[in-house]
Symmetry: C2
Subunit: 411 residues, 2 copies
Amino acid sequence: MNVDIITIGDELLIGQTVNTNAAWIGQQLSLNGMNIARSTTISDSKEEILAAITEAFERSQLIIVTGGLGPTKDDITKETLCDFFDSELELKQDVLKRIESYFAAKGRDMLPANIKQAELPKDCIVLDNHLGTASGMWFKRNGKVLVSMPGVPYEMKALMENEVIPRAVDYFGVKGMYHQTLMTTGIGESALAAKIASWEDRIYKDGLSLAYLPSPGIVKLRLTSKRGAQDKQLIDDYFEELEKELPHYVYGKNGVTIYEAVSSILRKNNATLSTVESCTGGLLAHSFVQFQGASDFFQGGLLTYSNALKIALASVAPLTLENHGAVSEPVVKAMALGGQKKLQTTFCIAISGIAGPDGGTADKPVGTVWIALATPKEVIAERFQIGNNRTRNIEIACLLAANMLRKYLNK
Amino acid sequence: MNVDIITIGDELLIGQTVNTNAAWIGQQLSLNGMNIARSTTISDSKEEILAAITEAFERSQLIIVTGGLGPTKDDITKETLCDFFDSELELKQDVLKRIESYFAAKGRDMLPANIKQAELPKDCIVLDNHLGTASGMWFKRNGKVLVSMPGVPYEMKALMENEVIPRAVDYFGVKGMYHQTLMTTGIGESALAAKIASWEDRIYKDGLSLAYLPSPGIVKLRLTSKRGAQDKQLIDDYFEELEKELPHYVYGKNGVTIYEAVSSILRKNNATLSTVESCTGGLLAHSFVQFQGASDFFQGGLLTYSNALKIALASVAPLTLENHGAVSEPVVKAMALGGQKKLQTTFCIAISGIAGPDGGTADKPVGTVWIALATPKEVIAERFQIGNNRTRNIEIACLLAANMLRKYLNK
């Protein structure tokens, strides 16, 4: 069963907004056994919308459209859908009531443009949007379905979860491809491919397919079976083999982050964590705190961006800073030990590096990062050379730091 | 002049990777006056690639293709392009040398799969990739151009900047649409639309078009002229009008973040900043540190996630915590004052809130956030009620905190 995803908006085409909606919709529907045939982004133009919908109806059974339903003047999707389905707008009283109570709950005034949002095509099933003012719409034609939703991500997600996915699974009775993904870190795509070449040959012989999905600091391995979930055990066994063979690199499954993997080991061990960050400026701590339940193990941290604060907060000796520089083994070890002592945690991770684009030297070029881990028994440190891009350097430094703790905990 | 963007990869369709490439390419090409007609994402299948390329050649003069050029077995773009352009692969010695020196510089072993990457279609111009092993390719047909690049974002970006954009601007001699965007925060889309209704009527009469682009905590207003850059002054004047009328909401232009806007005001005032964060766990500090030159004003921060650390690090009185709870005006004010004193900065922002999904009460439901700002003269605080989603609550709390400082600095 094929799905076409159509996302409408000039802001997507000209890249002012990254299309996270298409990714999320694709993920949810493929987890529910549907095949994403194509994802198309078009402009807020009637012609374009009509052309894209017509093409999609030729290819797919389910067409998901997002965007173009806001209260402001640039939105024309609703009128275009009326044209396509030969329908017309009518004021839906129940929708109007819902919009009124939405504004009442927020204590905000309702505007004329919001009343217009209760005008919807006669010939669609209205999907209630409890988080906003633009309703979803479910149209049927010749056994195929088109769904139109607002482009605001959390409104669209709630509509998908509460309305669209249950209805679509039921309507089309789907069962489909089965995917599982293994997460690796600390090894490049080519080197990983070389290490697992014979394993890869075997999975193909078993009728599975493999994709390498590299992203900064991480390579995901996705195994797919076209036979569906009946191959779950086969895929699990293949992944277990790699987990045993490459314990330093494999850290989890199915999109789990390295931070979640570390979090659950810390939780199991009743251990606590603190951080002392310089160049990453809080991103390492936030990477743990972003997940629910971080308070089980995360206590807090010190952001010692300036050298003065490395001394004042993390008790780094001024002479150590002077002799070795802020990006050095002795300083990063002192930061980790200082943080561990001050914040009274089982583990403390410290990071000091040159994120760039300025500040590099011949000895310590941009991308040089020292990471230290203070444990109950010792303090260890490692130097990494990442790259030239500030954002990537900061992100990858955090991944490497979390992986250092993971490797230690798994020993 | 029309552009079609084609991004190849099952990982994009099933949402394992968010398509940031399409957004970035769209942004760069539209800034160079090209019109992005459509952006299409397809699977790693020969049929799909051929169909999408054929359709795109009917619509556009320039077709940008990314993905499917990696060294591993799931990549078939190169062979498919040979079919489409009736060409064949040949081993390019100069490319092989570049790949060899790439591996030598990294001190890594070259693998057989990497040698294959020097095999490229006879009938294309090879675009050198200095950051990786997959080359770009530039094909011409009937005055139209197709460019194929690897999907790794930083490799693709370097190829675009160094090779594709200069060649395309030159080859097509483009001049096109002109966009400018005004950034607003602290006001919703509908309320903003109501406030600027008469302004909006006037811009339409002047032949401009307007789009509202909402994202969490921010609404962007994009003005577009089809007459090109000759309307720069007209658009500047319209935006200046709004800036004067709505100083609390308008904070910048063209994708600047609120953190960059605040950074430049702090820099101008020779002021320094520190943060004391609880529920945001470091994201506020990182939001400033992510940009080059943060050390001009940012000194560091305290992450007082646990109550014990609110006392130990930020000198919050235990009784204040006991009487009012961690998410309260007295505690967040004490955190800001404690941080300002300990870190010796001009300003200190403190955040304490209930990010969720647990921890809410009737008085303080999930989404309740207190933010305090310690200035040289006083400490001010404000309570916000954000929403139910942990990630959004954390992100928006940081935006609100930065905006509180911005409003204070602009007074």
